[in-house]
Amino acid sequence: MLQHRPRWWPSFTSTLRSTAVTARIGRVLGVAIGVLFTTGLLSHYQYEPWQWLPVPAKPVWGYRLTQGIHVAIGIATIPLLVIKLWSVYPNLFRFPPIRSIRHALERLSIAILVSAALVQVATGFLNVLNWYGFGWFFPPVHRFLGYVLVGSVLLHIGVKLPDIVYGLRARMSEADVLTEIPWNENPESHSNAGRLPDPPTPGISRRALLVAASAGIGVVVITTVGQTVTPLAPVGLLAPRQWNRGPQRVPVNRTAEQAQVGPIATAADWVLQVVGPRPYALTLADLEPRAVHRARLPINCVEGWSVGADWRGLSLLEIVEQAGGTAESRVQVVSIEPVGYNRSFVEGPQLSAALLATHLNGERLDLDHGYPLRLIVPNRAGVLNTKWLNRIEILS
């Protein structure tokens, strides 16, 4: 094995990098990933709840909050991750590259951590932008890769705990210089080997580096979060969605054209079949006199945008009870849409709170919003508020 590194081996001279800097960025990144994991699991629960614990209907803004946080923090995590990786880049050039089996395993776990983190935040953001060119079905891969990512973060914290403790305890200006030589082998790196003069940082200081990064991330958050924090929409220079530019001032995620519902949804002889112990059907003319229930509910998409709207429509529970169901029934609403998220289940507290909407913000529902009839339920992921309904099934 080579005892001395070759002359061409990279060496890092910047005094800006330090375990103290990395530990501080890492602490924020770790909290962010924890929040992303928690809100991500909550979002997954919207899609696959346990039958004995249905998703509650209160608070009305629950999913709006948790998924808004998930996407806002997810976007902010992209630059945060890049800066974290910048701060430890010299570690990639430790010499010799592999010292032992244990060291090889550690490096492998870091490779998994870094690649999983990069792919997770990148594809998450691309999904927000409705770009699916990566070529796999996003939700399960994002979830399972999330397990891999959080698992490798926990392992990483376990492995690096002494460094983390040292980094967080050390004062930033006087802590070690992080180079390709580990601090415990380099007494001149201002490590905790002893009191040494502070490393000079003639350019930007370590503290200013963190402030500049925070300021940049702050700009990103303020200019993107307007897609869900509606008062910030005017400064949403980098917001993917603009809620006020959708039809009836609500954006659309799947258009009528994409869903191929046009001729059937707009047909004059549209009927809603209600299937249960006492089945019946409702025509377009039957809807209007019963569409007397009003609610102010947000539509909150898994992609992180949301907007409150005034809805008017029929009570789903009344429709279900008329067909012989009860508030304890499990109900499936079915769309004209031939494929995709063309059905969803409603039960428990959400069944009592559900509306079959005919009107949105004072106007008859736009075709892209699900004309003639759509589901809208408080605290429910956007895509589960099924559009273009023509069938209600009471399953139990």
Binding site: F12, S14, I78, P79, V82, I83, L85, W86, L92, I112, V114, S115, A116, L118, V119, A122, F125, L126, L129, N130, G135, W136, F137, P140, V141, R143, F144, G146, Y147, V150, G151, L154, L155, H156, G158, V159, L161, P202, G203, I204, S205, A208, A212, A213, G216, V219, V220, T223, G236, L237, L238, P240, R241, Q242, N244, R245, G246, P251, V252, N253
Partner: protein
């Protein structure tokens, strides 16, 4: 601390293995291959392209820009890179969606230019203030030292 390290590492290994297991058993092979390519590409692009480029920029700045000015330049560059990372995909994907989705309709290139301009402007102003203060401080110091000399002479 040792107990904590063992608990964290064990929990991490279990959760990570669970994730890998779910991926391998529930995701189609074609998707897994593409995911593998993305994971590998992410490492290569980050470690072999972007990071050396950033390190190169830092190295060049250290050798070409004086310390005082470099502080402000670094400050601006950090903020600009952070904002640009988020804006770039939206610039490329702008207009790719049906208008009713109200998605990616903004002129992100113009908005990014505006943000970069704001960051550059604020940084340049702070730098100008700093240069002005340094100059005034030096003049005052020279005045004071001049007075001291005069006292001695008197």
């Amino acid at each position: 601390m040792k107990a904590w390290r063992i608990i964290l590492a064990t929990a991490g290994l279990l959760l990570g293995a669970f994730g890998v297991f779910r991926l391998l058993t529930e995701i189609p092979t074609g998707s897994l291959i593409r995911l593998g390519i993305w994971l590998l590409a992410a490492l290569i692009i980050h470690d072999a392209v972007i990071s050396p480029a950033v390190a190169g920029v830092g190295w060049t700045l250290r050798r070409t820009v004086p310390d005082r000015g470099r502080r402000y330049l670094q400050w601006a560059l950090i903020m600009i890179v952070v904002v640009t990372v988020i804006a770039l995909p939206m610039i490329f994907l702008r207009g790719s969606q049906p208008p009713v989705k109200a998605l990616l309709l903004r002129d992100y290139a113009a908005n990014l230019t505006l943000l970069i301009g704001l960051i550059a402007g604020v940084t340049a102003m702070s730098y100008a203030v700093r240069v002005f203060r340094d100059r005034r401080q030096r003049i005052t110091r020279e005045d004071h030292s001049g007075q001291a000399e005069g006292d001695q002479l008197g």
